[in-house]
Symmetry: C2
Subunit: 193 residues, 2 copies
């Protein structure tokens, strides 16, 4: 149906606008008016598509999770070795360097904001990390024991989050580059069975 398709388009416009605002302003400072302005959808009409702000967040998380899943599948298909795939992961912040400098990590900063006092929304937000975490474990499993794979996957997430946070604190993209190089060295130096 054409009308249903149109509704879907509107929904997607809203989600994409909210996705950016969430990254650039954070959840608590993102208002429906902001979304209306950014998406071009009239203020009141938003509430037809999403009754509450929580529902908007939920839709954005689903959207992000799907997009990231697709990306990881693509890497799985097109990057030959696990080590190279891990390096590809570690490179994400370099590709997003200007955004990281200005806004931090979109997943980490959202979790940090919601984790304090909005536990339901935090659980939603954590799903973003689960996607990467499970994929990283699979990659490391091709290189080390299952036990070590879990540990290394978390360690990689720790270092990525840390560099994003500190790059943001000090507005310093050279720090980001240096820390990613350190991660590369670490990945290459592991004694894989």
């Amino acid at each position: 149906m054409a009308s249903r398709e149109k509704t879907e388009n509107i929904r997607n416009k809203i989600i994409e606008a909210a996705d950016n605002l969430l990254y650039h302003k954070g959840y608590n400072l993102m208002s429906f008016s902001d979304i209306a302005d950014a998406s071009g959808i009239p203020r009141g009409n938003l509430n037809y598509h999403f009754k509450t702000k929580d529902e908007v967040l939920s839709a954005v998380i689903d959207y992000r999770v799907e997009k990231m899943g697709d990306m990881l599948q693509d890497w799985q298909a097109n990057i030959p070795t696990a080590l190279e795939r891990l390096k590809r992961f570690a490179k994400i912040p370099v590709n997003e360097i200007e955004n990281v400098r200005r806004y931090g990590c979109p997943m980490g900063s959202l979790n940090t904001e919601l984790g304090k006092v909005q536990p339901d929304l935090k659980s939603l937000s954590r799903m973003q990390f689960d996607v990467f975490r499970e994929w990283l474990i699979e990659q490391f499993k091709m290189l080390v024991s299952d036990q070590k794979a879990k540990e290394f996957a978390m360690h990689l997430l720790v270092r990525t989050q840390g560099l994003a946070t500190m790059t943001h604190v000090y507005n310093d993209s050279s720090l980001l580059v240096r820390e990613v190089e350190k991660i590369y060295s670490w990945l290459e130096s592991q004694e894989y069975e």
Copy 2:
């Protein structure tokens, strides 16, 4: 003067209550009413001591910076070697493990929240990091070249922030312990001149 002393006491009560709320709820969700309830100071009276919410934040940051500076001075006086002092720093999250699990790092989470869209408040909040950063550089300077000292100081901050963020995301204190042990190994393995 007794009355002036009393005013100071009230100010300090407000600051300490706001310090906790800022950590537990974040800046944007912390209201004057929250501070009034937590400190026992009547709602309206707060605005005599602090005209705006920004002023409260500023006072809390000053308070934190002073407290942390005292702590670092104490370490400097009472812990004999630079390596031991660095390990003492790395141990902070272990001592605060329950808080980190529930609320993340008080400095990192505040910077992340304010950094997106409140640049003036972000500058204030970054002062917390400056205290540690400068102290860490001094410690590393006793062990490596000046250039390396800056790099290592930031690297230590990166790893500390990363472990705090991920411990918070997954509510997982065993991750925190494991990552601090890794930092210990790293500190001990450096080839110092």
